[in-house]
């Protein structure tokens, strides 16, 4: 073996510490294009395409929030299904990775299952639904509830990367505004919301200022997830396939949601808890259960929900499940949980 490690760096890195770790167990023995789907290159894209996207990603990390153009390729699925995220994942992924794919927080929706199968077939990587185990998480519209850690990479599927596009249709003009650090129109949009609705009424894709310099779209995540981007230990990569842009938020970068001092940014809250796990501080989806107006609220992050059910199951038995507290509608948030036990509910958060 040549090239002895001489640096003592890398301590504390979960992954990405050395070439051997990145290459994984197989090392370099895997033949070219050993994804398992005969005839395709490793991770589907050809090497030239990956190299170009990789160069764009490095520039994206160097200028947080700035949109780097790249020559997006046609993928074997329509635009809008995550072609940007898939190209970013394919350029980043290696045999040592553990991949998680979520769509609206769920690991088992059609889009998530298809994309996970696609990457697995073309790379042979391990996949998981557990946020903690994953090294690479491709996502549409959510950031997991479990805290991310250093060394993890989030890949976002982005439909509209330009936060000012609804205000200014010209790409030349928005690029000029970014260059001049001129974001007055963003505040105008927020002000119109306040004038019309009495509050800032953007519920998802809520624009952020990255590292105090570039306005960026966090992708259509609910504004509930915006605070998770601020000083996050993970690396966040954004890919817009149709618009052919990538951008990034490096770890420990200050990310601030646009707001006014007298109308500060705030996240959504619910006056009820998840009806499966009792979580009162996660993002909830409303599920229609029948055609007579029946509905229930459950965690959008399916892994988070199942983890809590599992943990509660090993702790106090029988305390978790859809409880019949159907009239919880007007109760202040925080006080709601599965009625019989205090072992889940807010206390479940580490």
């Amino acid at each position: 073996m040549r090239g002895q490690d001489s640096a003592d760096g890398g301590s504390g890195m979960e992954r990405g510490g050395s070439i051997r770790e990145i290459l994984g167990r197989g090392g370099l023995d895997g033949t070219e294009g050993s994804g398992g789907s005969g005839g395709y290159n490793f991770a589907y894209l050809d090497e030239d395409t990956k190299r170009e996207i990789r160069r764009a990603l490095l520039k994206a990390v160097a200028v947080p929030g700035y949109q780097v153009p790249f020559s997006g390729r046609e993928m074997p699925m329509p635009y809008g299904w995550g072609t940007g995220g898939i190209q970013v994942t394919a350029s980043v992924i290696g045999p040592g990775d553990v991949l998680k794919v979520i769509d609206q927080g769920s690991d088992d929706t059609t889009n998530a299952v298809s994309i996970r199968n696609f990457h697995r077939a073309l790379t042979g990587v391990a996949t998981t639904s557990e946020t903690r185990r994953a090294t690479l998480i491709q996502t549409r519209h959510r950031i997991p509830e479990a805290p991310l850690r250093e060394g993890q990479i989030m890949v976002y599927q982005v439909p509209l990367p330009e936060p000012m596009r609804q205000l200014e249709p010209s790409e030349l003009e928005t690029r000029t505004l970014h260059a001049l650090n001129e974001y007055g129109t963003m505040y105008l949009k927020l002000y119109e919301d306040v004038a019309r609705h009495g509050e800032i009424a953007i519920s998802y894709d809520y624009p952020v200022m990255v590292a105090g310099r570039h306005a960026a779209s966090p992708s259509p995540i609910p504004r509930f997830d915006n605070p998770k981007l601020d000083r996050s230990p993970a690396l966040h990569l954004f890919g817009a396939g149709r618009e052919r842009r990538v951008y990034a938020i490096p770890p420990y970068t200050i990310v601030k949601s646009f707001d006014f001092s007298d109308h500060p940014f705030r996240i959504q809250s619910w006056d009820r808890a998840c009806e499966i796990c009792g979580s009162a501080d996660s993002y909830l989806d409303e599920i229609v259960t029948d055609d007579r107006g029946g509905r229930m609220f459950v965690c959008s992050d399916s892994d988070h929900c199942q983890e809590r059910v599992k943990r509660a199951g090993t702790g106090e038995s029988g305390s978790v499940g859809p409880t019949a507290t159907g009239n919880a509608g007007s109760t202040p948030s925080g006080s709601v949980g599965p009625a019989p036990s205090g072992s889940v509910g807010r206390g479940g958060k580490p």
Binding site: S6, A7, R51, V92
Partner: protein, 201 residues
């Protein structure tokens, strides 16, 4: 080397080696001024005609779309690089999008390199600087801060002198324009994105 007129092979496994080098470069740029061990020698079956860390970065980042400038003592590798990646060679550093320098002494002034444009700051040069050891003394210790740095910490300077630190301060002042750099071994790699501040302690 290519003194016998024969070219040595590139990566033993192009796809997997490129991915591994890129991931380390991405990690280095995301956690700036922090030396990551980079045993890039294992990626080659035979010694490449330039230091392994620089050679691996070149094969990972360069191709026909990236004019490359090689510092004088790396020019013996130009045939090798052109054979493996069809790179156009830039006659002067300011025309290159990738600048490879064997040592700090061969590094052209940063402000003469491509800085990017206001609308497209990504069109700036990326510098890959060799001959800077993570553990080598003699550098100017500075305080590193910026995106990717959790808490301001001391960067030992890797043998980089006051001139480089002054040049880097000017580079940082031009943000979002400016060059990005990798300190590439031997044996380690550290990323210096243009967003990084290096201030005297």
């Amino acid at each position: 080397m290519t003194t016998d007129g024969r070219l040595t092979p590139g990566f033993a496994s192009c796809s997997l080696a490129s991915q591994a080098v890129f991931r380390l470069a991405l990690a280095a740029l995301s956690k700036p001024a922090f030396p990551f061990p980079a045993d890039f020698g294992v990626l080659f079956e035979r010694d490449p005609p330039m230091p392994a860390t620089l050679a691996a970065m070149a094969l990972t980042l360069a191709d026909g779309l990236t004019p490359v400038w090689l510092s004088p003592s790396l020019r013996a590798a130009s045939d090798w690089l052109q054979f493996h990646r069809s790179v156009p060679l830039a006659r002067t550093p300011d025309r290159a999008s990738l600048v490879f320098a064997a040592s700090p002494g061969e590094l052209p002034p940063l402000d003469e390199l491509s800085q990017g444009t206001g609308r497209y700051p990504d069109r700036s040069a990326t510098v890959v600087l060799g001959g800077v050891l993570a553990e080598s003394g003699g550098g100017v210790p500075v305080l590193a801060s910026g995106p990717g740095v959790e808490e301001e910490r001391v960067f030992e300077g890797h043998g980089l002198g006051r001139d480089f630190m002054a040049a880097w301060a000017r580079n940082r002042a031009a943000y979002p324009l400016g060059v990005d750099a990798f300190l590439a071994g031997p044996g380690s790699i550290a990323g210096l994105p243009r967003s990084l501040s290096l201030n005297p302690g």
